[in-house]
Every structure is written in C-alpha cells, then in structure tokens.
Symmetry: C2
Subunit: 409 residues, 2 copies
C-alpha cells in the first residue's frame, strides 16, 4: 500500500517541479478557498475526533488543540494564502562561476522531491505542512496522529480535490504504528522525513528510519545569568522564557546562575516566578538560597519539563556554565544575560546550539519571528538545516553545468 | 571502547572549535612535516599490508592502490599543505539582519563537531580526511579498511603525535565489522558519518546508522545523445566519460541515444569505443545496429560496472530519455549532448541528479575540478550537501542573536 503511495508521490513531485511560481500560487489559493467552502464538512469530521478524545479521557488542553471551529479553519486557510505570497526559493541561483576548464557552473535551488511528515495531534499541521511543501515544489506524505484521524483525512481530501496535481498531497489512511514504520523504510521514494512531536516519536524515527531525517523540536533550553548581568533584564527574560508558553520547545527548562551573584539574585527570581507558581528544582548549592524548592536530581537536568518547573544550577564561572549547558542541552536555544562583551562573545562561540542569544529570550527561536514568513519546524540537528526552517530548508541544490564540448584532461 | 573514543573526540572537537585559522594551519603543517620525517616508518608498516594483500591473492590493481612509496607519501604531505592554504569557512557570516523585534540575527558557519569516516583500501584517504576535518575544526574518527590497517594506524599515530590536540584524530584500532556497527550507533558523540566506498558499504551504513550520514559515491551516470547533437562532441565526450578512468563514480555506465539518429550514430560510437575494447550491452532496439553487442538485461541498466562496459538504450524522444535516466540513475552526474537550447533546458530542469551537464563530460564532477581546492567526497543525497563536497560541507551553522533585553511579545 505504502509502496504504491510513495510511487505516486514521486511521480507527482516531478510534475510539481515543472510548475512556475504563479502556477503553484494559484493552486495554493484553490486549496485555501476549498477549506473555507468545506468548513462544515471539516467541523463534522473534527467532531468525531473531539468526541472520541473526550470519551477516552484525554485532558482538556489536548482536546482544545484538536478542536476546529470556523475561526480556526479560517486561520488555516489564511495560513495557506500567506504561504502563497512568500517568495519561492526554487530556481534561485545560489552561486555561479566559470571553472578553469571553461565550464559555466551554477548551483541552483531545486525541490527535495518527496517529504514525509509524521506529526501528533494538531490538525492545522496538515494544511501548514502540505502548503509549505507544495510551495517549494515537493510532494508530501502526511502521517498524522490517530487522535486527529478524521479531521486530517478530510482536510487532505478537500485540499487534494481542489488542485490539478492531486497526488502531491498524500495521506496515510492508517493510524497504526506499522504504517509509520513502513514510511521510515520508504527511502526509495521519500527524500526526507520530518518527525514533529515529542521526544519519543523523534527518537523512534531516529533509530529506525532509513530515510534521511531532520530532527525537530526537543528543547532543553537555558538562561545563564552572568556575574555582569543586568538583573532586570535577567528577570524579565527568565519570566518570558519560562512562563509565557511553557509547553513549547523554545521555552527554558533551566537557569544557570553565576555563584557570585546567586545570593542576591535568587530571592528576586523566586519572587517573580513565584507569582506563576513555578516549581524550582535546585542543585545542592542553590537549594538553601530558596525559600521553597525541591532538590534537583541528575534526571531533572536532562528533562524537557514543558511545564511550570525550572531547574537551577550554580556555576563557579563562565567555563563551568558552558560545560554544564553543553552537557545537558538539546542544542536548541541558549541565552546569556551579561553586560560584558568578552563574556558574551565566549558564550556565543562555545555554546553548542542552533540559536545562541545575548540578553534576549529563547522564545524568539521561531521561523516567523526570525522573519522567514513560515516555519516547517525547528531543526536540532546539524546536517542540512539548523534552527528554524523556512522554505529554503525544504529545497536541495543541483549543479547545472554548461559546456561546449569539454572533456576532462 | 568506542564510547570512550567518541567522548575523547567530542572533547577534542570543542578545543578545535576555539582555534583560529592560523593556529589550525600551523598544526596542519606540523602534520605534513611529520609524514615526511617519518616516511620510512610508514613504508615499513605499508609493506606488511602490501605483503599480506599479495599473499591473499588480491589483484595487482588493488595492491597498487594500497602501496606507498616516498613519492606517494610526499604527495600526501603536499595534500595537507594545500589544505592548510585553503580559506577557512569557519566563522563566515552567511547572512544577517535585524528582525522586527530589533534582534540582530546572524547565521554563522561553525564546525560540525565530530565526523566519522568509514573507508576502504586507499591509505591516502587517512591523511586527506584527517586534514580536511582538522581544517574545518572537526574532530575525526577514522575507520579504514582492513587491507590498509598497519599503514592507516601508523599514519594516524604520526599525525596525532605532531599536534597539540592529539585526540582530534581518532583511529579505530579494530578491523572487525563490529566496530563499524558500533560507530554507526554512536550518535551521542558523532555528528555525521561519511561512508566512502562501494555500494555494499554505503548501503550497510544507510540501513544501520543512527548517526546522520552523507551518502557518497555510487555513480550510474549517463550521456544522452539528442537528435540535435553535434556528433563529434558526443563521441569525444562519451569516450572521455567512459574510458578515461572507468573505475570512478563520475564515469558513465550508459548512453541513451535518440532513436532518430541511432542508425547513423551507433556505428561511429562502436568505432571509437572499439579501440578501447568496450563491451556494449544493448537494449532490444539498438542491438541490431551494432556489429557486436550483448543483449542488455534490466539488471545491466541498474549496475555500476566501473569497467569497460557500456549499456545502450534508445529513446523515442527527450521525455523518454529523461524518464529512463531518472528511473535508473543514482542521482550523481548526467549529460546531454545537444545544440538545441530548449532541449538542453528541459533536460537540465527535469533530470534528478547532483550535477547535470550540457555538452561536457560527466568526469568533471569533482571538488578540485569545480574549484573547491579539495574534496571529502561526492554526495549523492539531497540533504545537507549534494555533489562535490568541499570545506563548507564539513560545517554547520549557528544563529547568533544579539539582544538588549528583548522578550517575546
């Protein structure tokens, strides 16, 4: 079944690669219009998923992420229109030169081909991912979570039916793990697999996929409060990075505090975060400086809490802070609060992460915020893409070489 | 054992990342000098490998690839000096802007970290790979073929002993497949794995590695002779691409010939390639146009012969030629011979390969020839790097963001 689907996606990808930007944009607008025109059908399918989730005792936050109403469908449609308006990276000449033999060599952006996306509950990922892949001339194979099965299926049906190259958006109509496993082995047809979800999903894909993958999302991020920190900046940034939206990957899980300022800083930190009922998991050295804290275990320093919990570690100096962060982070986003330029430079150079900040919140790590107009995910690996991925990260390159009969000497 | 080695490589990689270009170049020159100073020791170790190979009945071509003499050691040392002279890509700002929030965002090149290289017989890969990785601030873990075990080991010992950061060049002192398998699972410490060798090795790595890989090398490449081809160019290019060095990945394995010119072209082709005793594996349609040919099987069209064998396929038109090539190629290098601009453009756009040529030999696909100064391999995958890989492909990027207390609204 999946073999056949992969083959159809690959064939569609070759047709897509021939479309001009305008042709792709017209198709995207048709997808967007179709979602609005068929909103009642989507809401009906979504009701099945929401009812099943409620019946299965899934918590209200999760049910809410699943739920679609007219307004949310409108937002999905608007999202597609926005993608249509972005600049198409396909065809861009990245560099070009004439080599010693007289060959005219250019390096051009071309679509990847077929992109597989494995994702969990939120159904808006369906239209987001499909439109971003379409815009960049890629066919997409979507494997959504079983909680959103009916919703995802009808969204794909509506989007596909609206366009010419219907095979460009493929939906795996099977909620079992077997189909996920089969997708991971479909390297004959799938050029890249992007898992979007929790650490469990991502690790399973990493262990089993023979398709090249882009790891996304897991974020054990930190703020380091240096000796030369402006405390007001530090407190504002920590509050923002911890509590504005604790469930996302660019929120922080821990703070590292320079030992020399800990006695002065921690009571202030406890006060501002206390308002949000943040629980502190403090290392041995900082424990007594809190009025109320839990003793941190080694595991706490390796956990993405995604909750109102903050680990706290004291560092004797910058070197120790860098060493600690590089050992425990997931290479996502890290920030230092300091007014000292040499300290900032050392931190920026030596921290191993996709995004490193001075005096700013880690919450800024996001494709839209960076200015890419859209985001297919945040890569935490080093190959191909690192950090927020926009349209360009959904392309590869091709060397185009114009000769005049040249042979290699 | 490998766990420990990985950890040491990772620690070394952090030290390397702090070195300036000048510091790295001085170390590279020390490596180069040390190879020359210790040439007798290398030749002695190499003799063990060469004798063992001869005793095991390995053919003379392979034994020759293994053999080192003073001249070849000098060439290895020269290769390191050449790498030292290349421009260091680390630290380059690729792009930079100020986003809407006022954050100063720059995207910079940084080392990958730890690079694993699995390779087969030729011992010069040891010094090449080690120097390219060192130049780009990466630690390297080398797993060479068992045929060159003694040679590789002594080369690494000499190079490591010459420099400060001795752990930067790690050698897996174990010729069994178990250590290769363990290296493929060392994702905790290894950032990328590059297999260099035959299709069997590459496929094994692809199937089993949890470390991200860059596929290199396998080349089923073609020349398509269009209706509007200049026959002289076509013949020169096919001869060059087939027989100049049949054992390399950018040599062609097949020609596709437009049916309308086949009767006229094939006798000329047979004449020029006949001088080199090239065997033709002809499809049904072309078979009778040869004086002497073997009937091609489907398998022939999917085989990298690396030998004086050429498959031949007739195509009714450009579309059929493109379809045939995209079905059978390994996405390496493809060339069209035509004087027609529209035909050339369609071929360049629609062929799926790392390098596509008009009127030039596929043999040009090479990092040195392209002008990169060096090459770590030729990627046939679409993620991260595609085509010849120079120094830049041994780096990743990092977003460095300068704020002034910004929090996400």
């Amino acid at each position: 079944m999946l073999e056949e689907l992969g083959k159809r996606a690959q064939t569609a990808s070759r047709a897509l690669a021939k479309l001009s930007s305008i042709e792709k944009n017209i198709e995207l607008e048709k997808m967007s219009d179709a979602l609005i025109a068929n909103a009642p059908q989507i809401i009906e399918a979504n009701k099945k998923d929401v009812d099943a989730a409620a019946a299965n005792g899934i918590n209200e936050v999760m049910v809410d992420r699943l739920r679609l109403d007219e307004k949310r469908i409108w937002a999905m449609a608007e999202g597609i229109n926005k993608v249509a308006k972005l600049k198409d990276p396909v065809g861009e000449t990245i560099e070009g030169w004439i080599n010693e033999d007289g060959l005219n060599i250019t390096k051009k952006r071309v679509p990847l081909g077929v992109v597989g996306i494995i994702y969990e509950s939120r159904p808006n990922v369906t239209s987001d991912a499909a439109s971003l892949c379409f815009k960049t001339g890629n066919a997409v194979i979507l494997k959504g979570g079983k909680e959103a099965y009916h919703t995802n299926k009808v969204i794909v049906e509506i989007m596909s039916a609206a366009i010419e190259t219907q095979d460009a958006i493929q939906f795996i109509d099977d909620v079992t793990r077997e189909s996920t496993n089969a997708l991971m082995k479909l390297d004959k047809y799938v050029d890249v697999l992007i898992p979007r979800g929790g650490a469990g999903l991502i690790n399973a894909v990493k262990q089993n996929s023979t398709v090249p993958i882009i790891e996304t999302g897991t974020g054990i991020c930190h703020v380091y409060v240096d000796e030369a920190a402006d405390f007001n900046k530090a407190l504002d940034i920590i509050v923002n990075a911890k509590v504005q939206r604790p469930s996302v990957c660019n929120a922080i899980e821990g703070v590292v505090i320079n030992r020399h300022i800990a006695t002065e800083f921690i009571p202030k930190l406890e006060k501002v975060l206390g308002k949000f009922n943040v629980e502190f998991r403090a290392d041995e050295d900082s424990f007594d400086l809190f009025k109320k804290a839990t003793a941190a275990t080694e595991e706490d320093f390796n956990t993405e809490f995604l909750d109102y919990i903050l680990s706290v570690k004291l560092a004797a100096n910058l070197e120790e802070a860098i060493e600690f962060i590089n050992t425990h982070n997931t290479k996502h986003s890290e920030s230092i609060i300091t007014e000292n330029i040499a300290t900032a430079e050392k931190f920026l150079n030596e921290i191993d992460a996709a995004a490193v900040y001075v005096n700013a919140s880690t919450r800024f790590t996001d494709g839209e915020v960076f200015g890419f107009g859209a985001e297919i995910g945040i890569s935490t690996q080093k190959l191909h893409a690192r950090g927020p991925m926009g349209l360009a990260e959904l392309t590869t390159t091709k060397y185009v070489i114009l000769g005049h009969g040249e042979i290699r000497p």
